[in-house]
């Protein structure tokens, strides 16, 4: 296994009490400061509702709405509130308690999908295919991943198969220079699948450890563009039947319920192996992730919390749930 994030990943997760101790004010602080702003309204709302109050139906309804406002979606919000009603209806509860219970429920849903990136060094080159809707952060995520893989002494090659968007290739070339990774590119409008094929041949010849393939962003309801993506996969399989070893879907945290359609279609078309959630440093809560975890169970390999190279971090279910509900912001500052 190639271990990302200095192998601290597992330690961080098992030692959920004091993640700050190992990473300081770095990524967790960033995630928190981002999420705090977004969750402060959520937690303020809950505090407002629950200060010394009996848990009744009206309160539950308001609580459900607060979850909806965090993008959890009406279905999941209803389910979570119903769970709370079963155990606590009519009892005296404080804001802290309610938040704790909800966070535990949410963490429970998210824990099975919080997994580290499964890179297998036994097979070279590992082919990583990056897919997603336009503007979700594919190229930036590739840049960050390349940086961290280089940190682990992996040789990385990048294929700039986004031959559509103007500037995509030069954007990736900048990342290539920053991370010292060769970037395979062709002229604009060239056949992406052809370039992917060539890149894999080249990566094999050069004995690269990892080949990352950037693709053009596409809306999941465009049948022809999705077919183009399938063609890339098909062509890769001609050289290596097991490729791509990882197909990563980038998901913008600001996305609402359309995330369901995105995951469903991409999963169907190109067998997505896991999700990377980007832009979690914003005011968007990414609550739709909870519903996605329940419905699809796809692993969430990492989250993006900023524009810097080090701003790609493992997904920690508990930290995510607690920050979402504003618990750590209150407890840990």
């Amino acid at each position: 296994m190639i271990r990302l994030w200095g192998g601290k990943t597992t330690k961080d997760q098992s030692d959920g009490q004091q993640p700050e101790a190992t990473s300081g004010s770095g990524w967790l602080g960033r995630l928190k400061s981002g999420l705090t702003k977004s969750s402060s309204r959520l937690s303020d709302g809950i505090s407002g509702i629950f200060t010394r109050k009996k848990l009744d139906h009206a309160t539950l309804e308001e609580l459900e709405e607060l979850l909806i406002a965090a993008d959890l979606g009406p279905g999941t919000a209803a389910k979570l509130t119903a769970g709370l009603a079963r155990s606590r209806l009519g009892k005296e509860v404080t804001a802290e308690e309610v938040r704790g219970l909800l966070a535990a429920d949410i963490a429970g849903i998210l824990a099975p999908v919080a997994r580290p990136l499964p890179l297998d060094s036994s097979c070279r080159p590992q082919v990583i295919l990056m897919v997603g809707v336009n503007g979700t952060g594919k190229t930036t995520t590739i840049g960050k991943l390349a940086w961290q893989l280089r940190d682990e002494d992996c040789s990385v090659m990048i294929a700039a198969c986004d031959t559509f968007r103007a500037g995509a290739v030069s954007q990736l070339q900048v990342w290539g220079e920053r991370t010292g990774s060769p970037v395979m590119a062709r002229e604009a409008g060239a056949d992406a699948a052809g370039l992917a094929f060539e890149s894999l041949e080249r990566a094999r010849r050069d004995q690269a450890d990892v080949l990352m393939i950037d693709t053009a962003g596409r809306l999941q309801n465009k049948a022809n563009l999705m077919a183009e993506l399938q063609k890339i996969v098909r062509v890769l399989k001609k050289l290596d039947p097991s490729a791509p070893h990882l197909t990563l879907l980038t998901l913008d945290a600001t996305t609402g319920q359309n995330a369901h359609a995105q995951v469903e279609v991409f999963k169907d078309m190109v067998q997505v192996s896991g999700i990377i959630v980007t832009k979690l440093d914003g005011s968007a809560r990414g609550g739709v992730l909870v519903a996605l975890a329940e419905r699809f169970g796809l692993p969430v390999y990492a989250i993006g919390v900023g524009e810097g190279v080090e701003d790609l971090r493992p997904f920690d279910a508990q930290a995510f749930a607690r920050t979402l509900l504003g618990l750590d912001a209150v407890a840990g500052g």
């Binding site: 909806i68 993008d71 809707v133 840049g143 500037g167 049948a223 609402g256 005011s283 968007a284």
Partner: protein, 454 residues
Amino acid sequence: MFDGLSGRLGEIFDRLTRRGALSEDDVNAAMREVRIALLEADVALPVVKDFIAEVKERAVGQEVLRSVTPGQQVIKIVHDHLVEMLGAQGSQLNLNATPPVPILMVGLQGSGKTTTTAKIALRLKTRERKKVLMASLDTRRPAAQEQLAVLGQQVEVATLAIVAGQGPVEIAKRALTTARLEGYDVVMLDTAGRLAINDELMAEVVAIRDATGPVETLLVVDAMTGQDAVTVATNFENRVGVTGIVLTRVDGDARGGAALSMRKVTGKPIKLIGVGERVDALEAFHPDRIAGRILGMGDVVSLVEKAAETIEQAEAEKLAEKMQKGTFDLDAMAAQFRQIRKMGGMQGLLGMMPGIGKLKNQLKDANIDEKVLKRQEAIISSMTKAERRDVKLLNASRRRRIAAGSGTSVQEVNKLLKQFQDMQAMMKQAKKLGQKGLARHGLGALMPKQPRGR
């Protein structure tokens, strides 16, 4: 699961229309469903609440109880209110200022600012005959300035020369000076994507705004945005002050609840919508069309426009003639397949058609997908002219030949012929129903009553 707002509301109103009179309870029940549907369409919660309250107030009461068809009355109230909320009419870009007129583009990362900048520039150039200069103030994302330069070449609009090391405000000032000296009408300023809660970056936009005094400050928003739309809109409005909204990726399958939220929260009009990756895929915003789509009345206007663009007139006329005469043959069927594929496939068409919720499921049962269409076209192409005119010629040996010729199986050939017969029957039925019948019952009248088990 997420059939979109139109499907959801379609179901609710189906229930309503079947009842004679409408009680307050009925309205309440309907509004509960409307609420969930709106939330699933990503309309922000506070906006949903207001909307429901207002519609309820209008719906419950004499207006509805006295009307002949209460369900339709409610639909109308909801629809009118949606249109009202979305902005009563299409709003144009404001260019009323001494040239060069600065237009500032702001928004989150990845919302489509740069592409939209180029699209607007092209629109102003071709439609308003304006001389436009574009400048990218994005010094953060690698190659963002190059991206705009490449787009500039594509749409043949000038871009400001890139000077390495300059800050956003400096570039903005240089853009204005250049525009003034070289006689440009409009200067498009494309800023870096930023989070609405990042104080430092928001201050940067404010500095740019103060240095340039833009006539239009357009907030570019992804149609897929969730509940966060409210936060984004509020922050940008409060800090920078926007004059209009551009909604991007409207060609996606998101229901675009964000449009409602943004409009309500900022009170600013949605001026343009992005409807595709091509540089000319930018349209004026039509509130009634979007509201109609949301309510399941379908975006018929867009459908007709799209059809007019893609269907070749001559072919369509030939087809119509054949249908009228009842001589619908396999050639006509193949022509139809071709047209469907040209218009962006079944999925694209379905989204625009009225009352689609139910149809969609039936189509799923009928297993219609693009690949099948292509294969069926191949089958028809493998037939002789005589065979295409007269299906009765097709005996077992001919069917085997056709299957081999098209790379399919005899079963598939048979399936196509069965489908052809169904369609023929459908055409006859359509003829019987006539124009009025079709209008009254919609396409549903043409679908077989029982989905055949396949």
